[in-house]
């Protein structure tokens, strides 16, 4: 086959996919505002997406904070290290690593689970059945998941921030033998509210990306078990890439001087 024709087809398919995703996202947004609302489902999804992600997110943040402290100490200046380590751990975790690591971990867990669940519902016609029972699938399935992710991701990242800084603190005081009081004081002095809120804003956006990608790929899966498997993989891959890309964009917007 002609090389140009292949490129052309890939470009067209990609554009078509972006168009479909945009329509899906727009439809979801319009359904968030209009009643009926499914409050019970929202709580249920907040438990599944938020609460049950706590252990992975907490462990990830804790070890990342610890490793970060070591790296800064080894690779950076041993000079004035008590100040440098504390401040860079605090800023690095709250601004970048907390939201990105939590986002990626939850993407792996939740995008996959959503895509698998909705994908199975699609191929077994359960989503069609909702329509015939006078229930809008966007309102019943998509909106609760998207809202739950947007609400719980910032909460998860807030906890990740605390544990990440704590990881750095424990490594610094135990293995680098820094003074605990000085470390805490340096952290407080350096950290501003903006650092934390910027991370939480990122987290809300990541939550949206995670749930939308899971729902979109689940909704559009076709062709039985294999199709559901493909949807699950695609959901995780696209959610992760989008998280990293939007993180870059948001960092350049939020911290532009």
């Amino acid at each position: 086959m002609n090389f140009l024709a292949i490129i052309g087809r890939v470009v067209l398919e990609t554009l078509g996919e972006i168009g479909k995703l945009s329509v899906f996202t727009w439809t979801t947004l319009t359904h968030i505002l209009r009643p009926p609302y499914f409050g019970r489902l929202l709580l249920q999804q907040m438990m599944r997406i938020g609460y049950f992600s706590l252990p992975v997110v907490a462990l990830t943040a804790f070890f990342t904070g610890g490793a970060l402290a070591l790296q800064i100490y080894y690779g950076g200046s041993q000079f004035n290290s008590e100040l440098i380590v504390a401040s860079i751990v605090a800023l690095g975790i709250t601004r970048e690593l907390g939201p990105v690591m939590a986002g990626l971990m939850v993407a792996g867990r939740v995008s996959a689970a959503i895509a698998a669940e909705l994908g199975t519902m699609r191929v077994t016609e359960q989503i069609d059945a909702l329509t015939t029972l006078s229930t809008n699938p966007y309102k019943y399935l998509v909106v609760p998941r998207v809202l739950a992710a947007v609400i719980t991701l910032p909460l998860l990242v807030f906890i990740a921030d605390i544990l990440g800084v704590m990881g750095g603190f424990i490594v610094s005081t135990q293995s680098l033998e820094f003074n605990a009081g000085v470390y805490i004081k340096n952290t407080y002095d350096f950290l501003k509210a903006d650092d934390v809120t910027s991370g939480l804003i990122k987290a809300a956006v990541f939550g949206f990306v995670i749930a939308i990608m899971g729902c979109y790929h689940g909704f559009n899966s076709k062709g039985g078990a294999q199709g559901v498997g493909r949807a699950t993989t695609n959901a995780v891959v696209t959610a992760s890439i989008l998280i990293l890309a939007t993180n870059y964009v948001m960092t350049s917007l939020l911290f532009a001087k």
Binding site: P36, T124, E125, D128, L133, S134
Partner: protein
Amino acid sequence: MSDVKIELRNVHKRFGSKVVLDGINLTVDKGSSLVVIGGSGTGKSVMIKCVLGIIRPDSGEILVDGENVLKMDSGAREEVLRKFGMLFQGAALFDSLPVWENVAFGLIQGRKMKRAKARDIAYDKLAKVGLGAEVGPLYPAELSGGMQKRVGLARAIAADPEIIFFDEPTTGLDPIMSDVINELIVDSVKELGATTLSITHDMASARKIADKIAMIYKGKIIWSGTRAEVDASGNDYVDQFIHGRAEGPIQMELLKP
């Protein structure tokens, strides 16, 4: 009896370059039972999904009680959809909900009925399809295929619909269970006085539940008549199909290059 309940006029649908419906014309009289027969993959499911608004046809008109549903806004369309009940090919039960909630789903979510009242109706409908109260709290995965079909039937008739669609109600069941399902369909339809459209490739089932029979082939209705006329249709395609012969004008797709 000659009031027309549902009418399809020149309905076309293609997926990509694959033409599935190529100008379907079909009428279902009020209170009657029409069975559409045809081979696998001939677009039977796509046809009823077009009427239910799950798939949007490319062109043509679909009239329910004389109104073109394709020209309606989503609110009016949801109103029309309340007249329908649907039994899906694979039953399409919600596997996250117990049996009774599956049956009550359209009442609770779609019609905002109180749970206690919907629950009573659900158990009543389960009894109508020969399932005792002990089945109510079970989950769909715990049921046999025949029981799942019965629950699907109970769900389809739960809201006392004016129109019921059956997508291959007997496919995958043993001959005795098939006959049980056929009897249940005939009984429940008679009791509700509903208009029904069924699709099947099971001739025993078609003979049992049909007033009229139509045959779909290559996206068109190629023959229609009463149940009695089907044996003397004078149509080679129909003859080949009802006698299940490999030889005839219908060549299986897989024999072609």
